[in-house]
């Protein structure tokens, strides 16, 4: 699940201090568009008894910092409880958040194995570097793209220049009252053929 602007920027949607790399001045750009519909969708996704998360180092540490141990929202209990797989070449075990597993080395190879062990799927958010690894190794099954009604003109993009081509099949497209478009895709072609 990825939050992007119309120009594909995915850097720091939540808060100004979330990811100020390269002097990015617009951190927190998604917050003004919060809506009850989007909150309900996120709550439903995280209301499932099972599930797992897959995160890159930066998003993992940020989520730990923001969500761990809180009781004032419907997300923290789920995030604290489910297995969390973290891709990083620099983090060391033990990881700070309970139920965390560090993925080192051949992330793509390891993920293929873990996908089989997590039948309820793994939720990935943010994690731009890992997202590109998944695309390159054809490990992304479903993409929920939340497109916000603004152009920023600067910032890190979800689909970086030089990434691999990929085709998707649209499953669903909704809009929120604040103008966010929530489109759900799965890998494949529009006509139902192979990837």
């Amino acid at each position: 699940m990825e939050f992007v602007t119309l120009d594909g920027v995915m850097q720091a949607p939540g808060r100004p201090d979330e990811d100020p790399r390269d002097g990015f001045p617009y951190g927190g750009w998604a917050a003004p568009y919060d809506s009850p519909e989007q909150f309900r969708m996120a709550s439903e996704g995280m209301g499932q008894p099972s599930g797992a998360m897959l995160l890159g180092r930066r998003t993992y540490l940020d989520f730990f910092h923001v969500w761990h141990g809180r009781t004032d929202n419907p997300f923290s209990e789920w995030m604290d409880r489910v297995p969390k797989y973290v891709a990083s070449t620099t983090l060391e075990e033990p990881l700070p958040w309970q139920h965390s597993t560090l993925l080192r080395g051949d992330v793509a190879g390891t993920l293929k194995r873990i996908k089989a062990e997590e039948p309820a799927g793994m939720l990935m958010m943010g994690s731009g570097v890992l997202f590109r690894t998944l695309l390159e190794h054809d490990l992304l099954d479903r993409l929920v793209l939340l497109t916000y009604p603004l152009v920023l003109g600067t910032g890190r993009r979800l689909f970086a220049e030089g990434g691999p081509p990929a085709t998707f099949r649209l499953l669903d497209a909704q809009q929120t009252s604040t103008g966010v478009v929530i489109a759900t895709y799965e890998r494949g072609t529009a006509t139902g053929g192979d990837r």
Binding site: L6, G153, F159, T167, F168, L170, A173
Partner: protein
């Protein structure tokens, strides 16, 4: 006032280069030309016709103008679109073109802001559409001349190619419409907030 609307076929990674054919625009060694065609279906065609039915005139950059002027006067398909393109006024901005001979074309040499503002203030209904013309559309964005967008978002990622939103300022927009086609194109309409 006649609004300027940028109406563009884009991919999920925002690429707008050469949707229609392999030879349309190979600049930068772009190998994916023609990516729109497999995603065309009846509903897509109907939505394009609907959009073209609202157009009062076209604003072009040089490159797209030349591609269109080469193709549409002798088109044998999409005759409704051809009729609209061939008939309506076309304004092309270029420093290098010497003449614009496609019927009802106007070669624009003056100041972009003044000329576009003057066209917007002309009486009448309908939109002034910018199709293709990526660099030109970005100039309009930088001069705050774009009033709306129709983004035809195709369900694929290309990984290279010219993007619609490049070297442009921050712009906050309002979503006005969402449509989808059977082959998974999501048509998003935005306008500049009042």
């Amino acid at each position: 006032m006649r609004p300027v609307v940028v109406s563009t076929f884009v991919t999920l990674d925002g690429v707008m280069q050469a949707p229609g054919g392999g030879e349309e625009d190979t600049e930068g060694g772009f190998p994916h030309g023609g990516w729109q065609m497999p995603l065309f279906d009846e509903e897509f065609g109907r939505l394009v016709d609907e959009e073209y039915g609202t157009i009062a005139g076209f604003l072009f950059g040089r490159k797209t103008y030349e591609i269109f002027a080469d193709y549409w006067p002798n088109a044998t398909e999409d005759l409704e679109i051809a009729k609209i393109l061939n008939t309506l006024p076309k304004y092309v901005w270029s420093r290098t073109l010497e003449r614009a001979e496609w019927h009802n074309s106007h070669l624009m040499r003056g100041d972009l802001v003044e000329e576009v503002t003057r066209l917007k203030e002309q009486p009448g209904e309908g939109i002034l559409a910018v199709v293709g013309s990526g660099r030109f559309a970005q100039s309009l964005m930088r001069h705050n001349l774009v009033d709306g967008y129709t983004l035809w978002v195709h369900p694929l990622v290309l990984g290279s190619g010219k993007r619609l939103f490049e070297d442009v300022p921050r712009m906050d927009l309002a979503l006005t419409d969402v449509r989808r086609t059977p082959k998974g194109v999501v048509v998003l309409r935005y306008r500049r907030p009042a």
